[in-house]
Symmetry: C2
Subunit: 787 residues, 2 copies
């Protein structure tokens, strides 16, 4: 094999790598004396040693080599780092290429800047230890592990010019999300999308254990990658000079392969189907903690799990200081930086320039590239509601038509996709198939419908992949919408956490531009999973999301189709939020015409005057949030009118859950006097809620009338039964709500006993009916409104 | 290839399969006329058609063949059904083998029983549509999809005699958890553990899409399975007669292979290491909805995604009734059941008997087999605490020694394992390695420590696998303990939901015996992830768990090592709960000697008299839950004593979070008067809490003094900083708590301004110090107690 790198280039690239390693070790250890101009003393070493050395030299090695590839081929490339613990390495490389100083001018490219660079790392009010939102060039935190490859594919979709190099740690590779992500190659179209180059970094160890993929045979690993649909290229070694040549030649051939795949796909008419390519991937096997101390305290260090974090700690042992100095000096900083601490020009010249630098690629700061969606006018999709409760509709089917046209109007922009775990049609959004199919690069068969290689609907039975792809797509400046069964969205609870944290932190980073919101539609929700049963019933995502920082989360419970349209339009236009919309797909009574819906949703909560008859002096407030609770509340109001004609009821519906919180806690929170105008100061409030009842208490405990708020919601009761029995099992049914109201109204005290008896009779009748008929009783239809 | 099945046996097995299919279709459709003795009429068809036909015939086919294998080889086998939607099939098979009627005597083995069997399915107050806890022989619900294979391995561990046949749906195979689960074969020791036989059921489609694994080439799928470390055996076809022979011969050779692997491993000295075997697995490719209608309404049905649920619906179309009748009659029920509706004897004889029936195998009702752990006396591990705050200890390290001896005392019983994602040593439980290593069947290298093939500590970088294995282990009657970083336990939120649902439902099934509790130790918690930063900080699992049914969840926040011992001992002895224990691993001040700790933990909350000086008349209650909040509260008390010597403080510590709820909501809830004795009726309560503050409000909103409870906790602020700065960032620090107290005590109103000024001066000093020194100020040590 002839050498890919000339001796001169090899020498320079190796020096560049040494510089990156030196800066990495410096960040972990030094608080001063950054160029070791004076002998290393204890006072130069930080008091707390934080950071992860183990993965860092490998990440640095790859960075230097990707720089060469970009330079020589003028590539548009970003770098996703699965082992996000390797923060110092990426900071070092973006510093060396100059992008770091552009974002953070105080970190100058001289000795003074080096001192600050070192000191700020993992230092209070400095920078985090991981590849973080603060790190230029990153769209991926990596602290949790598992999502790098899904993010990489999300970034590559609709970016035909982009190559996403994605390092996957061999520890990370053991996680579920990552194990599933390899199959993303069945959803990436080489004619339309960019390329993902997975680099499995086998450095062999986790915190305290070897990794599985480093301890199976090379043959098994090869088979595994072939089975996942990749062509593996192995780069293995511990002699840097040999590995430099091997990686360089491998990257050249891998790039050629990518180009070949893309050229072939793009030469054809792009609307034609072509064979799914076997994309190249690299297995990069190098020692953990490469170039670090070989042994510490007589124990092997380089190439072992001991190199995971800080290899030399405890500077009470005097030899450790000398060992650290030897280690740092082994990189020969004097050959890398001039006496002012400036990186030598001939080395710096190896890096790409401008936006070609991976630390400055605008795709890694997606807000810069984001264009607003062209939006259809959502009023055009509205259901005609001449009178509340006069017509039924399937809310999500109505939404589907709107989404179809969002898709249609942005087909040319190529910046909108719909994501879902095999549920787009089940969730009744199938109108979108009129304008776009489902992306599918695997084999297509005669019985398949709506599958093709040009689809913009992304369906795979993995919530992890839907979420990861969508995040990657949003973070690189595009828009999306994720529809999911409500119960199973918990599968990505942890991913939601990490994305929420990313949004929270990036809000305060001036150079990070806002991105499109992450929009969820949770449908097939708890109340209508009567057919699938208990395992499919869980409304707890609301609770999970509500714990996140209030300036990034929004939760909407539109009571009908027109409200859903208004909310969805708002969410798709919004920026930098996580929007959770919960709405059913079954035919349900409609309440508001579109104008009323818009007014209602813009405030977020309001009195439904047409259903109220209290003239401002209610006996009871019947409040509701969620479509099924709204239906039950409306029915309860009708029952109450029937039972006690002179009862004065005020009906309040809540769309935007966050209005319930005090304004001090959430920007959507109602002012106290507005809240009081809805919920009164002293009247009983019967609140029918979609989720777990305590959520309402959690949001309202500081409100004046809180002790009078009585909430019904899901209390973890359910099975395969009828829709109405689901609400009965959880005491959320109309009869229970009516009884609750009567029980709480002081002037009706003498009615309570009789009404309670009526309630139990009704329940007996219900149970008898459903167990005999296997279905619900015919429903109440004669709504009695005051108007 | 000579036929494995004789013509007579083939004929009978086929008939058995027809019977299972007939009963499956019957369950989905019929409410009467179970043997079709009269012509099918609309009134015989259920009003709501629920259930999943698509996967069912394949599951039935496998059941019949596994029965033969069990019968001929006297196997101890259970059957885990990943595609849990196929409920009717498993109910049908357990009915045919007789186990169903033993558990549910009302479902007799005659026409009357058949009618009930059919009608109860997916009928209100009947049985769920999925393979559910109600289903004999099941330890796996399967509604959520993804956890079958991990459950199977958990069941096989330490059950050398058991074979776990595990059907994995090809839809399920796309999930993250399942994709990671294949690698479980690196953790199963053939000498000690049972066998798992994965059967990948390629029926090609999900709800609305083909599956990935059905649409890659056979070569790729073969490579994938080889890469995962299995030897794939393909059984493919749509002609039942051919598939019968092929599956039978494949099962014979697969069993021979399993026996060969086990014999080889067991022939050696079992403490010796041996090569990791390539276990066999089966790819079973048969049509979705096999034997169902070929077409419905002119559209292809069998072998397409349309067969997923109910193939013929909408009986307003008159031809549909005839189509259903033809379908049902195609199984020739008259050849299968006698005129009383009893399954023909010669067919019934194919099934195994007694505990060999998969529906009656005691391993699938683990409580039957469970033996209590032999427990060391936890007092023996206690820290000596002569005076509160006089000694420091690492709580989890103390626990580690206790767990080591739990492990040791049960080594012979082989019924206890420790699970964790690469964090046992990081979480300072490494004392267990003195008695047991970490299980590892992949290659072992010289630098590895504590790895071997006989280990009982299960470490893999996948929370999904840890959880799935542990669930499988518990459900089959053993005990375990899962330690995890607090933030990343959210990865298994959804699995927790499903397990909690399983426990809730099984409590009400008389023949299901209680199993050991699922015990979590969450450590490396939010307050001490200062080094790893924001991504590692999340205390929200508490909120997630607290939403589950109160009779299955328990949350403990031991403030020190001795309390942790007491709580852990209690949890390991408990049954049928989910116990969450949150405790730190860093050296921290200790408060209670072991006797005091036991008293404190047994009540769950109490006044710490030694830290209080209120003589029953406090100015303020300083409450705390969690180790770091307790430390800050203790320090705040010391500060308050210093600032205002005559302040009267009552210190309350909460270990068992559920005591805060009213007794009506949770069995651990304190009676109101007991709660009031701790928290007073009218004094300000400053509550320092480990998690999100709203949790305390959610638990206490019905309590008398709720409006006086002021909670500090995690408010989603954090980064890489110092431990003390973490509490400062979230207003949970001692200075803030002290100021909170002063601000809320009416008689100190004139001090508020000065104390606020002092607070801000202190904060300035703190910030200056940490930003200059990169570390916290030396801590307060001179505790001032009243005693």
């Amino acid at each position: 094999m002839s050498d890919t790198l000339s001796p001169a280039l090899l020498h320079k690239m190796h020096a560049y790598w040494r510089a990156a390693n030196y800066l990495s070790v410096g960040q972990i250890y030094l608080q001063s004396n950054p160029l070791l101009k004076s002998p290393l003393k204890l006072e130069h070493v930080k008091p707390r040693l934080l950071g992860h050395w183990g993965t860092t030299p490998g990440l640095n090695f790859l960075y230097v080599h990707l720089n060469r590839l970009i330079q020589e081929n003028d590539l548009n490339m970003i770098y996703i780092i699965g082992p996000g613990h390797g923060g110092p390495g990426i900071v070092a490389n973006t510093y060396l290429e100059g992008s770091y100083t552009e974002f953070y001018p105080a970190i100058e490219r001289n000795e003074h800047g080096l001192a600050r660079l070192f000191r700020q790392f993992s230092w209070p009010y400095g920078i985090p230890s991981h590849v973080a939102p603060e790190t230029p060039g990153s769209i991926h935190e990596g602290g949790e592990l598992g999502y790098s490859l899904a993010h990489a594919f999300g970034a590559a979709f609709d970016n035909p010019d982009l190559i996403v190099s994605c390092v996957i740690g061999d520890g990370e590779a053991e996680t579920g999300a990552l194990a599933a992500s390899w199959h993303s190659n069945k959803f990436l179209n080489p004619a339309r999308d960019g390329a993902v180059l997975p680099i499995l970094h086998l450095n062999g160890f986790k915190i305290a254990n070897p990794t599985i993929l480093a301890r199976i045979s090379k043959q098994e690993l090869t088979e595994l990658m072939l089975g996942y649909g990749y062509e593996p290229h192995f780069v293995e070694g511990d002699d840097p000079m040999l590995v430099h040549q091997l990686l360089a030649s491998t990257l050249d051939s891998v790039l050629a392969k990518i180009r070949e795949i893309q050229n072939k796909a793009r030469a054809n008419n792009q609307t034609e189907s072509h064979e799914r390519p076997k994309w190249p991937m690299i297995v990069f096997r190098t020692p953990k903690g490469w170039t670090g101390p070989k042994t510490v305290d007589g124990k092997p260090m380089e190439g072992t799990w001991r190199a995971h974090q800080v290899p030399i700690a405890d500077f009470k042992t005097p030899e450790h200081l000398a060992l650290l100095e030897v280690w740092l000096k082994s990189y020969k900083p004097e050959e890398l930086f001039d006496e002012n601490g400036k990186f030598l020009k001939e080395l710096a010249a190896l890096a790409p320039t401008g936006h070609r630098r991976m630390g400055a690629n605008p795709h890694a700061n997606g807000g810069l590239l984001m264009h607003s969606l062209t939006m259809p006018h959502f009023h055009d999709y509205a259901i005609t509601v001449l009178q509340p409760g006069s017509v039924k509709a399937e809310a999500t089917r109505v939404l589907g038509k709107f989404l179809r046209d969002v898709m249609k109007l942005n087909l040319e922009k190529e910046n909108f996709r719909l994501f879902g775990p095999d549920e787009t049609a089940s969730n009744r959004l199938d109108a979108v198939f009129e304008v776009s199919g489902k992306e599918w690069m695997a084999e297509i068969d005669g019985v398949d419908v709506n599958l093709n290689q040009q689809g913009r609907v992304m369906e795979v039975l993995s919530e992890h992949l839907c979420q990861g792809w969508l995040e990657g797509y949003l973070l690189t400046g595009r828009h999306g919408f994720f529809s999911c069964y409500e119960a199973f969205i918990h599968i990505i609870d942890s991913m939601l956490n990490q994305h929420a944290k990313w949004l929270k932190v990036t809000k305060d980073i001036p150079w990070r531009k806002p991105i499109a919101s992450l929009n969820y539609l949770l449908t097939s929700h708890v109340w209508r999973q009567d057919h699938n049963g208990f395992s499919h019933q869980d409304p707890g995502f609301i609770d999970h999301v509500a714990n996140k920082k209030s300036d990034v989360v929004r939760i909407y419970l539109p009571p009908d189709a027109n409200c859903l349209l208004s909310v969805a339009d708002h969410c798709l236009r919004s920026r930098h939020y996580i929007n959770v919309i919960i709405a059913g797909k079954q035919p349900e009574w409609q309440w508001l015409d579109i104008d009323a819906a818009v007014r209602h949703c813009s405030i977020g909560a309001g009195i439904w005057q047409w259903a109220s008859n209290d003239e401002g002096k209610p006996d009871v407030v019947m409040a509701c949030a969620g479509d099924v609770p709204t239906l039950e509340t409306m029915a309860a109001v009708t029952l109450l009118r029937e039972y006690i004609p002179d009862i004065r009821i005020c009906v309040v519906n809540v769309v935007d859950l966050m209005v319930l919180q005090p304004q001090s806690e959430h920007p959507h929170g109602l002012e106290d006097h507005d809240f009081d105008a809805l919920f009164t100061l002293d009247k009983p409030v019967i609140f029918a809620f979609h989720g777990y009842p305590t959520m309402i208490h959690k949001l309202t405990y500081r409100r004046h009338n809180h002790h009078n708020i009585h909430v019904r919601g899901y209390k973890e009761e359910g099975t395969t039964t009828t829709p109405f029995d689901m609400v009965v099992l959880n005491d959320l049914d109309r009869y229970r709500l009516a009884l609750d109201a009567i029980t709480r109204i002081p002037r009706l005290a003498d009615r309570v006993e009789a009404e309670t008896a009526r309630y139990w009779t009704t329940m007996e009748r219900h149970k008898l009916y459903v167990s005999e008929h296997g279905d619900d009783m015919p429903e109440v239809k004669d709504w009695r409104w005051s108007s």
